[in-house]
Amino acid sequence: MKFAILAFPGSNCEMDLYYAIQDIMKEEVELVSYKKDSLAGFDAVLIPGGFSYGDYLRSGAIARFSPIIPALREFAKSGKPVLGICNGFQILTEAGLLPGSLQKNVSAKFICKPEPLVVNNADSMFSSTFKLAQIINLPIAHGDGNYYCDQETLKQLIANDQIIFKYRNNPNGSVANIAGITNKAGNVLGMMPHPERAVEDILGSSDGVGIFQSIVNYAKSREVVAHG
């Protein structure tokens, strides 16, 4: 299968993602500039962390008007997997592809440390290699990671099982300990923790592999259906 990694001015985790997919997952991967207008030929799209456009105005607020975004919307609509990590999550909420928004951490501090997460839904195309309620360890690194949505939206997130990962010890003040949510269709995931920084034991954790493996398993099962 073939992954696209979107690169915006100020992205800084795109190469970590690239090597995670190429060297650890052994899958095809290509960086796609924010200036491009097509995502044809890709099976999954990854939106990396960083500080797109310097986080000017709000995190993700300017990146979401990039030339690549209409193609991203089309790709998301087609039902294929889209994963936004950290700034990628912020871009997805600003673009309206995911509900809610990411506020300043409640402590007003930038937090950079490994964080235990609880798998809250193990049936999604991003988490099928995990078990429900399993604890996984992934690093977080953000200043604006405090997920906020109104009560009505939270009710819908719970009713549709859209909350995939929760923090065990909420580090940033997120509503309902939310660390990662999908859209209603379940094919767009935004998460603040960084799976690409946890793909080898030498990095402190290899739990991030489970997320990429889930995507690969999903895409390959679709291929079998499509070709069979």
Binding site: L57, R58, A61, I62, F65, T93, E94, G100, S101, Q103, K104, N105, V106, S107, A108, N146, Y148, C149, D150, G173
Partner: protein
């Protein structure tokens, strides 16, 4: 020419830890009369001649809804100031 002053601030339901830090620091300096302090954003947009008030209102609202404010967290208001050149 018209000058448009746009003010964006957080909704009441949204925590603003930066504003709280500033307020606390002022408290430490002995300014005890401050009940609340808000930290928002302020934009000055200069608009070229020849646009009607109605079109300008429409455009500024569109700009705010689309980019300058995030309706999940923020409210905005604006005022249009005529500059000397327009008089």
């Amino acid at each position: 020419m018209a000058l448009v002053k746009v003010y964006v601030n957080y909704k009441k339901s949204i925590l603003n830890p930066e504003a709280q830090a500033i307020q606390k620091a002022l408290g430490r300096l002995g300014y005890d009369n401050i009940d609340d302090l808000k930290l928002g954003k302020y934009f000055e947009i200069t608009v070229a001649d020849g646009i009607s008030k109605g079109d300008l209102d429409k455009e500024i609202n569109e700009i705010c809804d689309k980019m300058l404010a995030n309706y999940n967290m923020e409210n905005y208001h604006y005022e249009i100031v005529e500059t000397e050149a327009a008089q």
